[in-house]
Amino acid sequence: MMTDMTEATQIQALTKKDFESGLDVRWCPGCGDYAVLSQITKLMPKLGIPRENFAFVSGIGCSSRFPYYVQTYGLHTIHGRALAIATGLKVTRPDLSVWVVTGDGDALAIGGNHFIHALRRNIGVKVILLNNRIYGLTKGQYSPTSELGKKTKTSPLGNIDQPFSPVALALGAGATFAARCIDGDQAMMAAILERAAKHEGTAFVEVLQNCVVFNDGAFDALSDKTTRDDTRLVMEHGKPLIFGKERNKGIRLRGMDMEVVTIGENGVTAADILVHDENAAHSGLAFSLGQFESPDFPVPFGVFRDINKPSYEELHKQLVESARAAKGRGDLQRLLNAGETWTIK
């Protein structure tokens, strides 16, 4: 049994298999969620965290079945509330590695309030948002990320709700780590998840994920090897934002706006291309990138922002320490006797 081993040997001994719960996975065959499950269980043994110190929290939706499939502590809760629950867990148990797996409906519609407030607080929770731009579990209604004009069961004449960019929303709420990847690109996903796992504070990762039943092909242009070089912008810290099959297109800053330019045309040189800075103190450029949409702009992938800021639980710990330094560890009898008292003999 695990408990008979020392912690060190236990961590070393663990493999991907140890993190699989063995429960039948009930996602549709071909669902993009499988790729995320596979990458996360592959990552976990590498993090040096004992298995029992992981807790996965989810809400409701296809993505929220996730905790059942990992062999850690798991809490499958109610629609939209995973982040609020994870916040209570993390602030009282900062020793745990707390992960929230959510979807575009769960996090951005019913749970939108908890989403922005978790990010603003910078609570140390990893948030993996599986964005398939549709409600899957209720069988095909438009979601907060469905594109304009999309016809679904509840928008038979076309969707007139303006979609959110989850990354831009996260950055607007003060995200200290925001990244995007896609289910089909496992190498990139692995690298991003690993960085998210090690980030202090809220780490937000949007995974574009294909729903084979209700929104199949939504991201084909971004995953198809013949088109993806022209539709994707893969961001790398310290490197110019260049994309395209010929690696000759790039992003140039013009005043406050970003524009797509071609190197070698109209006098544009490689030196004109904006260099990506994940650590920029101001989130403005990352926010602009977060709003890029096809077909006018390439869809950015990679890390938009990664800055250091104390996490909520760290600030809380400091509050407690300073309160105890100032007042000493509280004594119950003294507390009950506080204020004005009088004695009756």
């Binding site: 049994m1 695990m2 408990t3 719960s21 429960l23 004992p50 298995r51 029992e52 110190n53 992981f54 807790a55 929290v57 989810s58 409701i60 905790p67 059942y68 062999q71 850690t72 502590y73 798991g74 809490l75 499958h76 809760t77 109610i78 509330r81 609020a84 629950i85 994870a86 916040t87 209570g88 867990l89 602030v91 009282t92 148990r93 020793d95 745990l96 309030n113 908890h114 407030h117 809380h316 509050l319 407690v320 105890r324 100032a326 000493g328 560890r329 509280g330 119950l332 009898q333 507390l335 009950l336 006797n337 506080a338 204020g339 004005e340 008292t341 009088w342 004695t343 009756i344 003999k345």
Partner: protein, 613 residues
């Protein structure tokens, strides 16, 4: 100045008195009332207060809806309520007089700030003529005093502006009242110095106003007599004045300290529950984490997260917030994790009247969730009782691995009374066990109380997944098997019903059988107890039971009900406990309902008792 100068006037001895201070919400009446009750407490008298204020922070001055009040009853013997009809009304303006006069005892004392009786204020209060001069107050002992001018004159050299001087008049009225009721002012002066330590000019002005009020009452011999409370003989020990919300907060800290388990509160501010969050936010040097959530739902959800992590976790709210927490309460119930949900009830429905008290969330607490979702419900019956109720709530939560709803009321949360401070060593023990042994572990295996084990994440070898989906009766894995669901629903119901096995026999005051049994819960305790005392003294065959536990009800209650010809249930709602009792015992109880945002009065209950037996 001290009380040896009070004197030549005849002193009348009293057994109890009810005083109400009323004015604009900006007049400082809550402060005057609080300070007066402190002075009374120091003399060892029993007292109960009832703050009554509008929802508006500063309603337009002089308006009928902007009137703020503070009532205190104090007595030489035990006091149960803040009193029915005031013996004395201190009114700072026409609107305050108009809205409160109907409550005052005929022949009672009116102390009125006549400088506020301007044409404009009289019109705002919808007075056709000035009641101070038109003879309409003939049935009362009216003391019409120019409090504003007297205060302003006394503070002419204080160096304060007109507005600040105006704010000192509450201390003038306090001084008046302290003279009338033979209370020394020395201690109050020390308090003012402390309270305004950072503003010495304001402190000096308030002290002057206090002394001036006192001296005015004394020198003008305006009061024909002064009053002295008969000596009190309360239980010996150390006392403090405590509000229900503070007592709840202290009870929760006590639960944490005696169990050694960290306390977590996740709450969203809401009247009249906010003070519990505020109190606990200030106690981080204890084992307390306070979290102000983004909404009511996040309040309870963070509480669920903290409980899952192994904390004694609670969330606080009032009626509308409890409605928002409904789905999450279902999650806590199906997860079978311990936590406490405090509902400091206020007048509903919806936003209702936020600052007024009511007992109208009982059915919401007992039944207000989807599915078969039993949750234990208990209620506090007075401000100081909140301390014991808070401890009891966590005792049940932890022993039975269940969320528990603790009902208090605005009228308890904000009211204060003397509290005999308990000795920590005498508090009930609370044992908390986390399971750490993975051998034979199943998430939903149960002990003799049908409680499952509390397992903290981080415990090696026991990783498991649970959630809001129906689960297998043993392993906790998802299950939608028909028979399993029935077993789970019945087990959850049986677990909560079984909590009644712990309850001590119900305390019946009065004869063991007879004509009438009065059953109450919550804040009506004081009024019922006093009405019962009065009726018993009048030779009526009446008994009285007050319920701590509303769900489950005490096991012996059915037998007790059967021993009386009639049952009377007074409540400040339209009959919610009555409904529960009828449903459970098929007893045709008689209702007494008042739903005016005000406490039930002793006379209202007493009169009904006389009609029934």
């Amino acid at each position: 100045m001290s009380n040896e100068s009070v004197t030549a006037r005849p002193v009348e001895e009293l057994d109890s008195v009810v005083i109400r201070f009323v004015g604009d919400s900006g007049d400082g009446m809550q402060l005057t009332g609080t300070e007066f009750s402190k002075a009374v407490a120091k003399a060892g008298h029993g007292f109960v207060t009832h703050p009554d204020y509008p929802s508006e922070i500063r309603a337009p001055t002089g308006t009928l809806y902007g009137v703020s009040g503070y009532q205190i009853q104090y007595s030489s013997s035990q006091v149960f309520t803040s009193g029915d009809a005031p013996d004395v009304l201190v009114a700072m303006n026409p609107a305050a007089l108009k809205t409160n006069l109907p409550d005052v005892k005929r022949g009672g004392i009116l102390i009125v700030n006549n400088s506020a009786f301007t044409a404009g204020n009289l019109e705002k209060a919808k007075y056709a003529s000035n009641p101070l001069t038109d003879g309409s107050l003939q049935g009362y002992r009216l003391y019409s005093i120019d409090i504003s001018t007297l205060t302003a004159n006394a503070l002419a050299d204080s160096g304060l502006g007109k507005k600040e001087v105006g704010m000192c008049k509450n201390y003038f009225s306090l001084g008046l009242m302290m003279c009338l009721y033979s209370r020394p002012v020395d201690k109050e002066i020390t308090d003012i110095e402390k309270k305004f330590a950072k503003k010495p000019k304001v402190a000096a002005a308030n002290i002057t106003a206090l002394r001036t009020g006192y001296a005015y009452a004394e020198a003008t011999e305006m009061f024909a007599v002064s009053y002295q409370m008969r000596e009190s003989t309360p239980k010996p020990g150390k006392y403090r004045s405590i509000t229900g919300n503070t007592a709840s907060a202290l009870g929760f800290v006590a639960a944490s300290e005696i169990s050694g388990v960290p306390l977590f509160i996740g709450s969203y501010p809401i009247t009249p529950a906010t003070e519990i969050l505020q109190e606990l936010a200030n106690l981080k040097h204890y084992n307390v984490t306070s979290f102000q959530a983004e909404d009511e739902i996040a309040g309870i959800c963070s509480t669920i997260g903290a409980s899952y992590g192994g904390s004694l976790a609670l969330t606080t709210t009032s009626g509308p917030g409890l409605a928002l927490k409904t789905e999450a309460m279902g999650l806590a119930a199906i997860l079978e994790i311990p936590m406490v949900i405090v509902d400091v009830q206020r007048a509903g429905p919806c936003t209702g009247i936020p600052t007024k008290t009511e007992q109208s969330d009982l059915l919401q607490a007992v039944y207000g969730r989807n599915g078969e979702c039993p949750i234990p419900v208990i209620a506090a019956n007075s401000p100081s009782d909140c301390f014991d109720a808070a401890l009891e709530a966590f005792r049940i939560a932890v022993k039975y691995m269940t969320p528990v709803i603790l009902l208090t009321e605005g009228g308890i949360g904000n009211a204060s009374e003397p509290w005999l401070i308990p000795d920590v060593a005498s508090l009930p023990k609370m044992e908390v066990k986390y399971r750490t042994d993975p051998k034979g572990f199943h998430a939903y295996a149960r002990d003799e109380n049908l409680a499952r084990a509390w397992v903290r994440p981080g415990t090696p070898g026991m990783e498991h997944r649970i959630g809001g989906l129906e689960k297998d009766a043993l392993t906790g894995n998802i299950s939608s098997e028909p028979l399993n669901h029935q077993i789970m629903c019945e087990t959850r119901a049986a677990k909560v019903a079984g909590i009644a096995r712990d309850f001590p026999p119900s305390k019946v005051e009065g004869p063991a059988k007879g004509d009438l049994l009065v059953i109450g819960w919550g804040s009506t305790y004081g009024s019922i107890a006093q009405a019962w005392q009065k009726a018993s003294a009048a030779g009526k065959s009446v008994a009285f039971v007050h319920l701590r536990h509303l769900n489950p009800l005490p096991a012996d209650l059915g037998d007790i009900i059967g021993r009386y010809k009639k049952v009377l249930v007074p409540e400040t709602n339209l009959g919610q406990l009555s409904r529960l009792l009828r449903e459970r015992y098929l007893s045709d109880v008689v209702q007494l309902n008042k739903i005016q945002g005000k406490p039930l009065m002793v006379t209202e209950i007493y009169d009904r008792i006389l009609e029934l037996c």
